[in-house]
Symmetry: C2
Subunit: 344 residues, 2 copies
DNA sequence: ACGTTCTCAGAAAACCTTTTCAGGGAGAGG
DNA sequence: CCTCTCCCTGAAAAGGTTTTCTGAGAACGT
């Protein structure tokens, strides 16, 4: 009653076996043709035609099981909402795209345990490599990284001791440059709104700020420093309110564009003109900085560039696991817009 | 000279076989324990211990090859840089995270061919499903979707005919609401800065604008409509310049927050006060809208919510491929801030 | 005590490719 | 004519897991 169907009819998703049978060759030959390995014109023709006719598509899982390559990389960042990381995602995406590699996203919430778990999870081999943008690399990270199952490229401060490809910004230098710029346009009471100081960015930008003061011959005044609860807009606004309740600076450097946007709001509320009364400088040169009014002078720390380099480093290491470890830095660049009072 | 090492020494990455041997059970039993399938306490104990001791981690490729599940979903969007999609990424990420599913990202550049290729690529089975945020679904999409190899959930206008889970916004209604709001606060010459009209958003927001005029008893005046080259800041600025060279509206509705930011810049350049001279309303309630000055009144089209629902729909369909197709809509919500002159 | 049901474990197949290995045939060189 | 090379092909193994199927033993009911 229920005759078994001929195989050609029952065929569901075509596999390489289907193609091989149809082309009257072995699966080995089929595989070779499909992977562009030299074969005789005759079989090439036959296999191509067969594959075309059944609409064959290789199965990703089987392929990576055998070839030990997934064709995927991952990017782990603290916060999807932060425009800096969004920029990086775009940049990495672009590199991945031209390399024919897919991109996975992880958002760690800047939780070190989460980051560690991520590195450990590489042992599942679900990606060929990982780009890790971390705010704070611990000893545990270093330990875990040194035994990681797949290549990792870190975006952040290079860790001493461990040998892992790293791409860094010179945010300390960038912050110092910003202070010098403010001094050059005539400001002398230069305040600093920082983010949490236990982060890499927080501590190095703080040092840069102090460097800058020193190199301008300005006295350090801790009253002029305020630390926000986070590198975000609202904390920036609150920090500025506290700062203004205490002192009257003629310039404010912010550790980050988001903080700067918050500070800008607070200044407006306090009826202070930017840049007339207070000059303002942010950091990161995110998309936001061109959109505020007045447009924000900011230090471009090369997020886009850094991410691009990180992606390229990762791909190159995947190709050549043995190549020597690289640490590359991207130079900061001051982008002068209206908010620092140097224009118009 | 070169004795073969005992297997326990040569062992590289431990596989399930390693664990099974160590626990003195079959790989089948090991697999069962590892997947939480009921077994005797004795073997459970032994396998768990063995796995622990060698630090066993299952191989993702092998697992998905056999189980036909990748534990991955993908999100395809027109543009990583657009804050609307960034919001969606965050939202989907969150759902994926709690479901223990990994998230892949595709950026299509709003290119229909790219989107089609993406749907076709599902046949590689590298993900269990796809969320597609598309600006413009064509016939070809419908055709491709109906034969797609994995579940797809569309964020956008529901397509007639095809049966695919869809989550939509009521942007037409949202735009109309915005017009009524502007009329309610006393504006009568209400202009409209739109994005490209061949997109779903463009055409429906335009209709909503016209609906709004009609329901307020305002006459339609095509001089008051300007179409920007893209849903972005600069095109918005240019559109506003053209508009202002021609007419003098007392309110402007923008099809999008990015456009609104651009328009805001143009208004400032033209020395027009917002909201005093011109009231301004955007759409999407992106993070930007709270940051401008004055803060932007905008229509929240529920991007976060829509993406969340899309992700949940996708996961539920993956679990239960047979369940009936759902089309769900999210209600728009007017978020009144300073720019429309209804506050203060 | 015997048959029935139930629980659990192991062997083996299946998932779909890539890659190694060996062999066959053809061409070249002696 | 023989041997050596070279090119191409096919068979089969390997990659690591899940799942089905079968069987053994225990528990249970009559």
């Amino acid at each position: 009653m229920h005759e078994p169907l001929a195989t050609s009819e029952v065929e569901g998703v075509p596999t390489i076996t289907t193609v091989a049978r149809l082309a009257n060759v072995s699966v080995a030959s089929a595989s070779r043709v499909l992977n562009g390995i030299r074969t005789s014109p005759a079989t090439l023709e036959r296999v191509t035609a067969a594959a075309e006719s059944v609409g064959y598509v290789p199965n990703a899982a089987a392929r990576s099981l055998r070839s030990r390559r997934t064709g995927q990389i991952a990017f782990a960042m603290p916060d999807v909402g932060n425009p800096v990381y969004t920029t990086m995602v775009g940049s990495i995406q672009e590199v991945a795209r031209v390399a024919g590699v897919r991109l996975l996203l992880h958002s760690t919430g800047a939780d070190p345990d989460d980051e560690l778990a991520l590195i450990r999870d590489l042992r599942h081999r679900y990606v060929d490599g990982l780009i890790l943008a971390s705010l704070h690399l611990t000893e545990a990270h270093a330990a875990q990284l040194s035994v990681s199952a797949a290549p990792v490229v870190v975006i952040g401060r290079p860790t001493v001791g461990t040998s892992v490809d790293t791409v860094r910004a010179y945010s300390r230098r960038g912050a110092a440059d910003a202070v010098r710029h403010l001094h050059a346009v005539g400001r002398t009471r230069i305040a600093f709104v920082n983010g949490p100081t236990h982060t890499v960015s927080g501590s190095s930008r703080r040092r840069g700020y102090l460097d800058g003061l020193r190199s301008c011959g300005l006295e350090r005044d801790d009253e002029l420093i305020e630390v926000a609860a986070d590198f975000m807009v609202e904390p920036g606004r609150r920090a500025a309110e506290l700062l203004l309740a205490r002192v009257r600076p003629d310039a404010i450097l912010c550790a980050n564009d988001l903080l700067a946007v918050g500070v800008l709001g607070a200044l407006r509320d306090a009826q202070l003109d930017v840049p007339g009364d207070v000059a303002l400088v942010g950091m990161d040169n995110t998309d936001l900085s061109g959109l505020t009014w007045p447009a924000l002078t900011t230090v471009d720390l090369g997020s886009f560039e850094r991410a691009r380099i990180a992606a390229e480093l990762l791909l190159s290491r995947i190709d050549e696991p043995g190549r020597e470890v690289q640490v590359v830095g991207v130079e900061p660049r001051l982008v002068v817009r209206a908010s620092s009072g140097a224009i118009g």
